[in-house]
């Protein structure tokens, strides 16, 4: 067969009613390479990918797959031409089983009927490949999976389609180093089998581990392309931002030494729930406490328990030394605790609401003075948050559904930040957010704790925890397995195993 490139896209234009997103992108994916695509939130990465796989149709521009011109009217057609994609927002149906999701529209059929056993077996193998075979079963409903587990199922789904071209849109956003390593193994195997991959990520360091080439997307244009050997993280950041890097890009937060007299702002004692067992820890004013663990270890479950989402079987929660009963998020918020959930789309946002309405969701009552919502004040503060968090949107009345993943995440954070909470529970808050914005958020959180508030910080990125938290608890299988004071990524890695 010919040696044409896997994908050649030329002069791709895409606009969503008036809002130009892709402004003439030229992009080439060579056969058998792993090609990184980087760019700020809202640069147009996902949109470009969705054009390549037929989700969107370009307004202008040409597309050829393995040398043959193509214009897809649906993802189905792209699939039939050997293109599979891991969607940033995932493409799973929560009400269906893992096996059904993995073989969605790619069914194993014998004599007109689904071969359930064959699919279950194949699923088992795929789950094994991505390393969660012993955590979840093929028959489990996807809605019962943790974020990371869902992410891996989505990846397994793409692998199952034995496609020639696989697009990975931020596949590691909610994965921690171990799973990422396992993913890389799988990816390299695919490459050796001659599959070409596109790899989108905000963890620039990873690019240098597995990618051959990297393209930088800025503001709807493909501004630069390097072989990874010829470039560096600062250079990439510079070209993403289109300016010399202002900040140094991994920033060590000065750990605050806590006043020993102080009463903990938040104290949990022997929490027991259906997923947790004897979880205890203290959070002092001015402190950022990290929770580190493998995926499925129970970090989210801990935050859920504190936030009143899961009923406690036993245990105590104290705020400012006072024991409190928290049965619902409403009560948690009333006690000055707020949560940035891990799944922005299903837990954080109301997708059809405008950016402004979402930003105000936690404090509607406060806005109403006494009955009518003060629209002007709402808009004011919304504008300010949008600016501060660098949310890329056509306006505060755009539906968040149409924001890019990272920008949606920023809205979730903004929504929780401006409430009068004393304690913030952050579950992977920087999930999908680009470096620059990530640092901005770090600074915001830092200022926040400086004012005598406290933060419980869950992240799948150990370096982030290491550089950011005053103290870190290690979570394993729903229990606290240890505590590390100011630590390093390597020590965390060792600890969570």
């Amino acid at each position: 067969m010919s040696h044409a490139a896997a994908i050649v896209a030329q002069g791709i234009f895409k606009q969503f009613d008036g809002n130009a997103v892709l402004k003439g992108v030229d992009f080439e994916l060579a056969r058998g390479e792993i090609h990184a695509v980087v760019g700020q939130n809202g640069a147009g990465k996902s949109t470009l990918m969705k054009v390549l796989n037929g989700t969107h149709q370009p307004d202008k521009g040409s597309l050829s797959i393995f040398g043959r011109a193509a214009s897809f009217s649906s993802t189905g057609e792209a699939r039939s031409r050997g293109i599979a994609m891991v969607y940033q927002e995932l493409s799973l149906v929560p009400t269906m089983s893992v096996a059904d999701n993995i073989f969605m529209n790619n069914w194993i059929i014998v004599g007109g009927l689904l071969d359930v056993d064959a699919m279950r077996a194949a699923t088992q193998r795929l789950l094994d490949k991505v390393g969660i075979a012993n955590e979840i079963s093929p028959d489990q409903l996807v809605e019962s999976l943790s974020m990371g587990q869902r992410q891996l199922v989505e990846i397994a789904k793409a692998l199952s389609s034995n496609a020639q071209i696989i697009i990975l849109d931020e596949p590691t956003a909610s994965l921690s180093d171990q799973e990422i390593e396992r993913l890389f193994v799988a990816i390299r195997r695919l490459q050796s089998e001659g599959v070409s991959l596109i790899y989108i990520t905000h963890y620039l360091r990873d690019i240098f581990k597995i990618c051959n080439r990297v393209s930088v997307l800025r503001d709807g244009r493909c501004v630069q392309q390097w072989a990874v050997s010829e470039t560096s993280v600062p250079q990439l950041v510079a070209s993403m931002l289109g300016e010399a890097v202002s900040r140094q890009n991994n920033w060590q937060r000065a750990t605050t030494d806590l006043p020993h007299s102080a009463t903990p702002l938040l104290e949990v004692e022997n929490l027991v729930t259906s997923h947790l067992d004897e979880v205890s820890f203290k959070v002092y004013p001015g402190q950022i406490v990290g929770l580190a663990g493998l995926l499925g270890s129970g970090r989210t479950e801990i935050l859920n328990a504190i936030f009143g989402l899961d009923p406690l079987d036993s245990g105590q929660i104290r705020v400012n030394g006072r024991a409190v009963q928290i049965q619902s998020p409403a009560q948690a918020i009333a006690h000055g605790i707020n949560l940035v959930p891990e799944d922005r789309r299903s837990q954080g946002l109301i997708l059809d609401f405008s950016v402004m309405d979402n930003l105000w969701l936690c404090s509607l009552r406060k806005l109403a003075n006494p009955v009518f919502i003060d629209q002007n004040r709402a808009a004011e503060i919304a504008h300010e948050l949008v600016k501060r968090l660098q949310v890329k949107t056509t306006g505060i009345d755009q539906a968040v559904r149409f924001l890019s993943g990272g920008n949606q995440q920023k809205v979730v954070i903004g929504k929780c930040l401006h409430t009068q909470a004393k304690v913030l529970l952050l579950d992977d808050p920087t999930f999908g957010i680009d470096l620059a914005a990530k640092h901005e958020i770090m600074h915001i959180v830092n200022d926040y704790v400086q004012q005598g508030n406290a933060v419980v910080f869950v992240s799948s990125e150990y370096s982030e925890i290491a550089s950011f938290c005053d103290t870190t608890y290690i979570v394993k299988k729903g229990r606290i397995a240890g505590q590390l004071a100011a630590t390093t990524e390597e020590r965390l890695l060792a600890a969570v195993q």
Partner: protein, 324 residues
């Protein structure tokens, strides 16, 4: 659901277009009938006021239903509530309006409360609760009245609640406008309204944001039943009688009006004004078809065609816009 996806490739257009087009369709139909029926009295002030009168109760119920659907719930029992409250008010009128009217509203609220408690506390789909309640309430109404019509023999009541005219304006028209305005403000300008839409738009996110979703669902069901009770009172005042069959046939009318108006059956999207327009469209069409002198079969067919046509106009235009 269907909407969702169009949006996915096509953002707020829907919202705006729909809000815009429904008026367009309304005016279009109005013009159509005015021309087509110019010699058949469609445009007579009297007839227009008839349309308003005949639409008033539907509109009032549609306001309540807008909240229910926005919260991604449904209420099938409001028709039964209409009858029960009408009967209640008619039976209690001898003891004075001050007793009868509040009592009837209370009865309505109570039915809503029962619906709401089963939905929010037990977690039964509102479809089933309200279906069951429909039977219970209707049974009670039939039993209380022994299937007899209860006459309303109270001039003042009849005047205020349906039969009266202030100048050329029917009190029903005023009731309709007041309720619609109130509903619009409640849904758009208060935190409650936002909480309703949030609960319907994404129950989980709403809960994570500290909204007591179950309480919201309880409230909308109570609100809807209470408005149904008001509609019942107005029926009683209008017909100067109450019978167990009142409201029976309003269910589909009302839900259709709300959805034509642009509210989503799946929650998260609601507009009171749209519902009002939807109700007026339905009322206008019914009136127009009768004026045309069509027989029942022809009316059924034409009404169906007009509904589909009107909505196709709306959505169709959206699609064209999308293509472009």
């Amino acid at each position: 659901m269907d909407i969702a996806i169009k949006r996915a490739t096509f953002p707020f257009a829907i919202g705006q277009w729909q809000r815009y087009i429904i008026y367009f369709v309304f005016v279009g139909l109005f013009v159509f009938f005015s021309i087509f029926l110019h010699d058949k009295g469609f445009l007579q002030a009297g007839n227009l006021m008839n349309i308003a009168r005949q639409t008033a109760m539907i509109s009032i119920m549609a306001v309540g239903m807008t909240f229910v659907l926005s919260a991604a719930e449904i209420d099938l029992s409001f028709g039964a509530v209409v009858a029960l409250s009408a009967v209640t008010v008619a039976l209690l009128l001898p003891y004075g309006m001050i007793v009868a009217v509040p009592a009837a509203l209370l009865v309505g609220a109570l039915c809503g409360l029962i619906n709401g408690l089963f939905v929010s506390k037990v977690g039964i789909p509102s479809f089933l609760v309200t279906l069951g309640m429909t039977g219970i309430i209707t049974g009670i109404t039939r039993w209380v009245t022994d299937l007899q019509t209860i006459p309303v023999d109270n001039e003042t009541f009849a005047f205020i609640f349906g039969s009266g005219d202030i100048g050329p304006i029917s009190v029903l028209f005023i009731w309709m406008m007041v309720i619609a305005a109130g509903g619009h403000v409640l849904l758009r300008k208060t935190s409650f309204g936002k909480e309703v839409l949030a609960s319907g738009g994404n129950k989980i996110s709403a809960m994570y944001s500290g909204i007591n979703v179950n309480r919201v669902k309880l409230y909308v069901l109570v609100l809807n039943s209470t408005l149904a009770a008001l509609a019942g009172i107005l029926y009683a005042g209008r017909l100067q009688s109450a019978r167990y069959t009142l409201g029976e046939s309003d269910l589909m009318m009302v839900i259709a009006a709300v959805i034509i108006g642009g509210t989503s059956l799946f929650g998260g999207k609601g507009t009171v004004i749209g519902a009002l327009i939807g109700a007026l469209i339905m009322g206008m069409v019914n009136n127009g078809l009768v004026l045309m002198g069509l027989n029942v079969d022809q009316q059924l067919i034409l009404r169906g065609i007009i509904i589909i046509f009107a909505v196709t106009m709306t959505m169709g235009t959206l699609r064209k816009k999308k293509k472009s």
